[in-house]
């Protein structure tokens, strides 16, 4: 069975380690916060200017001056701090953020990512994605392996305008955990009940399958 969006987030949460500062993108990445073990200390950064982002506020306690990068109302946890946008991206460019998790429309086998524009159709802007992918050392992409038409989103070369080049190191899709190394996809884990052949079929780019591929554990 292919993973649900929640399960993708749950699998990615296992990559979040004690002491990490983590930036979560909009969509599936936002869900990761719900699955991080509560026996480790992690701080979430939102690029609009908060470290130590907490859950949504209780009804009636929302504050219009306290939102995340998705413009949703949030809370600040004990130990949180606020800062301006220039400092926020200083943190990001300066590689002080340990892990960046974001969505993608396409990823290529050399780690290029496209997630901000479909020419003539969708032009919403890149927001902070270009800054994040250009500077982060540790990027995990959360994505569906194929589009609605069943076409692969893990490609030899991206067809959409790029967000960044050769920057993605790991992908967690609804079918697999994949590492990008030496210009190739490397299959690390399969979604429970999904075969290597199914993953191979859904992957247009070159994918290395080395030995027995284990099923994901949550």
């Amino acid at each position: 069975m292919a993973l649900s969006k929640e399960q993708i987030a749950q699998r990615i949460a296992k990559e979040v380690k004690d002491g990490y500062y983590v930036n979560l993108g909009i969509g599936i990445p936002t869900l990761v916060a719900n699955f991080v073990r509560d026996d480790i200390d992690v701080e979430f950064q939102s690029e609009n200017g908060i470290l130590g982002m907490g859950p949504f506020p209780f009804e009636g306690e929302e504050d219009p001056d306290l939102i995340n990068a998705g413009k949703q109302t949030i809370t600040a946890l004990p130990g949180a701090s606020f800062f301006d946008s220039a400092m926020s991206f200083g943190m990001i460019r300066g590689q002080h953020v340990d892990l960046t998790i974001l969505g993608a429309m396409e990823v290529s086998q050399n780690g290029d990512i496209a997630n901000w524009k479909i020419p003539g159709k969708m032009v919403k802007g890149m927001g902070g994605a270009m800054d994040l992918v250009a500077s982060a050392e540790n990027i995990i992409v959360a994505m569906m392996h194929t589009n609605r038409a069943g076409e692969s989103k893990l490609l030899k070369q991206c067809s959409l305008p790029l967000t960044g080049v050769a920057c993605v190191k790991k992908i967690v899709s609804n079918l697999a955990v994949i590492e990008i190394r030496d210009g190739k996809f490397h299959l690390l884990e399969r979604a429970p009940g999904v075969s290597v052949e199914e993953i191979q079929k859904a992957t247009e780019g070159e994918m290395v399958v080395d030995g027995e591929i284990p099923e994901m554990k949550f």
């Binding site: 929302e62 946008s85 032009v123 270009m130 500077s135």
Partner: protein
Amino acid sequence: MINKTVANVREACEGIEDGMTFMLGGFGLCGIPENIINELVRRNIQNVTCISNNAGVDDFGLGLLLKKHQIKKMISSYVGENAEFERQMLSGEMEVELVPQGTLAQRCEAARTGIPAFYTPAGYGTEVAEGKETREFGGKMHIMEKAFEADFSFVKAWKGDEAGNLIFKGTARNFNPAMCGAGKITVAEVEELVPAGELDPNQVHIPGIFVQRIFQGEKYEKRIEQLTVRKK
């Protein structure tokens, strides 16, 4: 103490003209200079270039200027919340420059701190890099980005004093500090304006030297764009 106070939003916007370039603070609808935007709409100022991370929503924030076709060019990082924006952009009625968010912030910060240009890795190898100088530092490629030039910076703070010192609240800080002093004239609107001496100098985020005019906004709607809550 050099007093920066002006009586109201009309006085604060003295000198704005058609065709000027404005910087406007805010992220989404959070921390936007609401009173100044309303004044720009009232004055029906035309052909302006706006540097702002977002473009408001259809009926609030910069969306109000868009609806009246007052904006010639937008310089933003993300404009996804505004249907009228997308329509004007795709039809070519309005010019749009999309800039990575960190680069946008740094181009403001550079303008206010006297740095004419800087190198960033953001956007290298993408269409953002087209026509820009590139250079390698430490084995990594960067593109050169230039400081913005603007006639006015319009910012919003939580509290301010007569000397123009500003304190921001929560994530309403966002682009506001980097824009203070980045335009030729910086106008700050605040929710609460206090006499000099009432703000603790230790707590000031932006010193008054970066602010030319300050006033207390008449009212604040502070609209929430995405209300997300959990049950008690």
